[in-house]
């Protein structure tokens, strides 16, 4: 595939990195010399200096031959104009990142079709959905659902005295009849490893696995994490993300209190959000929060536009008794730091946007992709095509690409955690965990 990416910010960088590693020809258009240098040094992609809204630059980037066009600069207008121009060159698929709701969303008078764009991605909406997922799974670091929610992919942190600390993977294999899970990967000191049978789970690991949703109670027993009911939620920051998250959570039946510093904004929010308590207070106004019961809150979510505020306020309320804290963290450098000092879940708008784009870009047989472990790996939902050479083979006899592991097999309505003796059939859907180096191989392997 020949792809052009406009904008080498964090989102563009991540997409360029991933697509080029998967063997696509990627050209990136970027105006900023510093970003250009960074990209050239780290990513195997061609960089063209200039603006994505200029035909000259686009032609230089080889737009006549491009079949994929992704505009992800931080300016909506540039992204939209770039996509309009790409339409003139008959580029097959066009994706634009659009922040402003003027161009996208319920009240907008425009839709993607007006621009000839296949997909408009609104980072705020993507992030809001990711946060709501994180709220619904109380003990997990990362969660994605597959097969219409019947299969879940989870990551649990292993703390001191965890029942599985020191347990070998082969031990878990022995009791698979009772605890049907497939451990896909372990994050150990920031590195993603695909463990083998004699590897042991250690304190500080994040263990990623696939299981059937109906087995969640037993999986929680195995990992020694109690199912906690989440009811009371505090939300800090009444911007676009905060508004979207508050609305989604309130509709799902949670009790939401939204804290916003700006009094005028509080009035607007109160008009928009019926049933949500709006508190006019600052991020560190712990007295007000205590009066409202922050010490008994199940979840605190910080989504102001300042990373430090989000991280610090999360740690502050956790000290005062809030059970779980989720922080929006924009700067990629702060992501691993935030989780290492006590933030339970750190969500990156840029990574979330990049994965939404990647999800769309994947060809044919890939139904869904979810990023894992700060983008160090992915979970794919794929279909075994009719004519695949895998049909009729046992899982253990198939030489699956290195760095990839099958976590679940869906056949019709049945979702199943496999062992080696399972036979593959045509039309089976597989949940596959893959390191970046293996993603493309998995796609090729199936076709």
């Amino acid at each position: 595939m020949n792809g052009i990416i406009v904008g080498a910010g964090e989102v563009g960088f991540h997409i360029a990195d991933r697509l080029s590693r998967e063997g696509h020809n990627i050209v990136v258009i970027e105006q900023d010399a510093e970003r250009e240098r960074l990209l050239t040094s780290k990513v195997n992609a061609l960089v063209v200096h200039g603006s994505g809204a200029s035909t000259e630059t686009l032609e230089q980037a080889g737009i006549e031959k491009a079949d994929l066009f992704i505009a992800v600069t931080n300016q909506d207008e540039v992204n939209l104009v770039a996509c309009l121009l790409a339409t003139q060159y008959n580029v097959g698929r066009k994706i634009a990142r659009v922040r402003s709701l003027e161009y996208h969303g319920g009240k907008s008078r425009l839709d993607a079709g007006d621009f000839g764009i296949d997909l408009l991605i609104n980072p705020q909406r993507v992030v809001a959905e990711e946060i709501v997922d994180a709220v619904r799974y109380t003990s997990a670091n990362e969660v994605s659902e597959f097969a219409d929610g019947r299969i879940v992919f989870l990551g649990y942190s292993i703390e001191e005295n965890s029942p599985v600390q020191g347990v070998a993977l082969s031990d878990l294999g022995e009791i698979r009849g009772m605890y049907p899970i497939v451990i896909a990967a372990i994050d150990r000191n920031g590195e993603t490893i695909i463990p083998r049978g004699d590897d042991r789970i250690e304190k500080g690991d994040i263990v990623f696995f696939v299981c059937n949703k109906r087995d969640l109670p037993s999986v929680r027993y195995l990992f020694g994490v109690e199912a906690r009911e989440t009811r009371k939620i505090f939300l800090l920051g009444g911007g676009g993300v905060g508004l979207a998250v508050a609305r989604l959570l309130h509709t799902s039946g949670y009790e939401v209190k939204l804290i916003e510093q700006n009094a005028d904004r509080c009035n607007e929010l109160a008009d928009e959000l019926e049933g949500v308590l709006i508190l006019n207070a600052g991020a560190t106004d712990i007295e007000t929060m205590l009066t409202e019961g922050i010490d008994e809150a199940d979840v605190f979510i910080a989504v102001t536009n300042d990373d430090q505020t989000n991280i610090l306020s999360s740690l502050l309320v956790k000290r005062h008794g809030t059970k779980r804290v989720i922080a929006l963290v924009d700067q990629p450098e702060l992501l691993p730091l935030a989780t290492s000092i006590g933030v339970d879940v750190a969500i990156s708008p840029r990574l979330a946007t990049a994965s939404a784009v990647l999800r769309y870009v994947r060809s044919g047989e890939v139904l869904k992709v979810a990023p894992v472990d700060h983008g160090n790996a992915e979970v794919l939902e794929v279909v075994i095509p009719e004519n695949s050479k895998l049909v009729g083979k046992k899982l253990m006899d198939v030489r699956f690409p290195e760095g990839a592991i099958v976590g679940a097999i869906m056949r019709g309505q049945d979702a199943h955690i496999p062992d080696g003796a399972d036979m593959l059939e045509r039309g089976d859907r597989l949940i596959v965990f893959a390191l970046p180096s293996a993603t493309k191989k998995v796609e090729r392997f199936l076709s």
Binding site: S162, P163, V167, D171
Partner: protein, 151 residues
């Protein structure tokens, strides 16, 4: 966690007459209580049934390891029962279970519980062990077989 450290030999049951898993669990918990390994037998029994309601503890191949963490025990303890007619434990393969170990763990969560489960599973699923257990004539013989094949 060697099986020797957790198996309570005097609780071993050579010919269980239990027809349901409830009967069998009552029986085994009672024997562990007689051996002084259970502080509160009703509580332990209830905790076992709660686990059973969340998931079947049948491993397949005729093996079941009903288990729980419970306030009613203060050390990891196991009891074996041979059920020649088989008892239903909602196994993955739908087979009735003839080789049953009940495993009780104190509340304090640590890895020994999971490792003991794995160890018992590894032992009881071996064909050779199952044949020998079926052929055994006495409780002592059963205990000896269980301990000698543990590795």
């Amino acid at each position: 966690m060697p099986i020797q450290d957790i198996l309570v030999p005097e609780a071993t049951l050579r010919e269980s007459r239990a027809r349901t898993k409830e009967e069998l669990l009552r029986d085994l918990v009672g024997r562990l209580a007689q051996a002084g390994r259970v502080l509160d037998r009703d509580r332990v029994y209830d905790d076992l049934l709660i686990r059973e309601s969340e998931q079947g503890t049948g491993l397949g191949q005729g093996v079941a390891i009903p288990h729980c963490r419970s306030k009613g025990v203060d050390e990891l303890s196991a009891a074996f029962a041979l059920c020649r007619d088989g008892v239903a434990f909602e196994s993955v393969d739908g087979q009735p279970c003839r080789f049953v170990v009940v495993l009780l763990s104190p509340l304090k969560a640590d890895m020994s519980h999971v490792q003991a489960l794995a160890r018992v599973a590894r032992l009881l699923r071996q064909d050779k062990v199952q044949q020998e257990l079926l052929a055994a004539g006495t409780v002592d013989e059963l205990n000896r077989i269980l301990l000698s094949h543990d590795e």
